[in-house]
């Protein structure tokens, strides 16, 4: 394997088009284990981390821009970011150990296209957009359009993600991400649920966004669960409806880490809990880091 570390997007695009067997990477925390387990080696490794724009995390007037190769530790260390996106920050903070988070990126998490990638439901509920570098310039697509199935993406050969744009939430909004893993740390989600809630002046739900991970070939929004909340108060009845809709949206696998019935039931439970946490945040109530206090990791 050869290695290059371009410093501009144009040079990276050029390197990718000059070698057909080339592969971009950021933290290599998915790539190296995959090569070690016998997946074919790329001919050319294109390291994205020397391109400044790809590792920057910046706050704009209306949105944050997160470099696709920025280490996810930047999203948990910056209080400005984690106060506005506690759920997305928590999801980033669940990716492996400190050693992994100092390398792992949102671009890699999304483009590795594992159905269980923790940051993806949290990006979906924040309607993050991916800026994609192509031979002709860049195009911007919704994060939900990138992964098409386990290990597969809609990116054409030679394309890569430059950065993610995430609009700042409206007033009285809050997000949350919860996952279920057999172990507390260093484990892959059996179920993951991301939620963003916006409340109206009466404390009813004005907007709901709910996404599930690890229970279908790709993470997905659950329109029925969202519809069960909009215009409604958040109470036992509406939470029960959310849980039913979230469970019904699952199309999970059956394996030793969780049966289909188990994954469906846990999805409903986590959806209720995540809605409750997101709504409390939207109401301005103090919530501790949901990921480490809720007993559901």
């Amino acid at each position: 394997m050869d290695y290059v570390a371009p410093t501009t997007i144009e040079d990276a695009v050029g390197a990718l088009s000059s070698t057909p067997e080339s592969r971009v990477f950021a933290g290599a925390t998915d790539l190296i284990p995959q090569i070690r387990s016998g997946r074919p080696e790329p001919g050319l490794l294109v390291d994205l981390k020397r391109i400044e724009r790809l590792t920057a995390v910046t706050e704009g007037a209306n949105a944050w821009t997160i470099g696709a190769a920025a280490p996810t530790s930047l999203l948990t260390e910056d209080p400005g970011f984690s106060n506005q996106f506690p759920g997305l920050s928590e999801a980033a903070g669940l990716i492996g150990s400190d050693q992994i988070q100092n390398r792992s990126s949102l671009g890699g998490n999304l483009c590795n296209a594992s159905p269980a990638a923790d940051s993806v439901p949290a990006m979906l509920v924040n309607e993050a957009r991916a800026v994609v570098a192509t031979a002709g310039g860049t195009r911007t697509v919704g994060v939900g359009e990138i992964a098409t199935g386990p290990g597969r993406t809609s990116l054409a050969p030679g394309e890569f993600i430059v950065e993610f744009e995430v609009d700042k939430p409206p007033a009285h909004s809050g997000d949350a991400y919860l996952r279920m893993t057999p172990r507390t740390e260093m484990d892959i989600a059996v179920v993951g649920v991301g939620v963003r809630i916006t409340l109206d002046a009466d404390g009813n739900c004005a907007e709901a966004r709910i996404a599930v991970g690890a229970v279908a070939p790709t993470a997905r929004r659950v329109a029925d669960a969202e519809a069960a909340l909009v215009g409604q108060p958040i109470n036992d009845d509406t939470l029960a409806a959310v849980a039913r809709a979230a469970s019904a949206a699952c199309d999970p696998i059956d394996d030793k880490r969780g049966t289909i019935a188990y994954r469906k039931q846990v999805t409903g439970v986590l959806a209720k809990r995540a809605v409750t946490i997101a709504a409390a945040r939207a109401a301005g109530e103090d919530t501790e880091n949901a990921a480490t206090t809720n007993g559901a990791h």
Partner: protein, 165 residues
């Protein structure tokens, strides 16, 4: 495989070496630079035995391609002690019997150093989370956690008396 010339700072010394461009920093440090304190447990990011600091952040050397080290500052276990004087973490691991076979120890020490560098006053829970990426098959974690808490306490005490560790 092609070999690449790599320049970086390792344990304070400007170092250059030749390494396989698709090889890991772990193999480069052991085989090309001769730093055998960096251990390989799994090679896939799960055990933390290969933990080193790169630009002050703890990372798994097994998940870094060797040429990524170009221009970076790397600290391995060999750079932890101050000449003949052990780092307080090393001293506390010794005194607290926080090791048995020792293969996990360099990784635990580097991860613990990264923690104490940014948080001199960690709680037990914070220590446990910070070391969640390090596995030990022999000692049991309690002695390791206690050694890190003891070292933190000792370092705070000597920082206060001006006798910086």
């Amino acid at each position: 495989m092609s070999r690449t010339h790599i320049n970086c700072t390792i344990n304070g010394d400007q170092t250059d070496f030749l390494s396989e461009s698709g090889g890991s920093l772990l193999n480069a440090l052991r085989d090309d630079v001769g730093l055998m304190g960096v251990k390989e447990g799994c090679g896939t990011g799960d055990c933390g035995a290969c933990s080193v600091l790169m630009d002050d952040r703890v990372t798994c050397a097994c998940l870094i391609f060797a040429p990524e080290a170009e221009g970076r500052t790397i600290v391995t276990i060999e750079g932890l002690a101050n000449a003949d004087e052990l780092h307080p973490l090393q001293q506390c691991f010794l005194e607290g019997a926080a090791l048995q076979c020792g293969i996990c120890t360099p990784g635990f020490l580097m991860a613990a150093k990264a923690l104490l560098d940014k948080n001199p006053h960690p709680t037990e829970t914070e220590v446990r989370y910070a070391l969640a990426g390090n596995l030990c098959r022999c000692t049991g974690y309690d002695k390791i956690i206690r050694a890190v808490l003891d070292a933190a306490e000792g370092m705070r005490a000597s920082a206060q008396t001006g006798d910086a560790a």
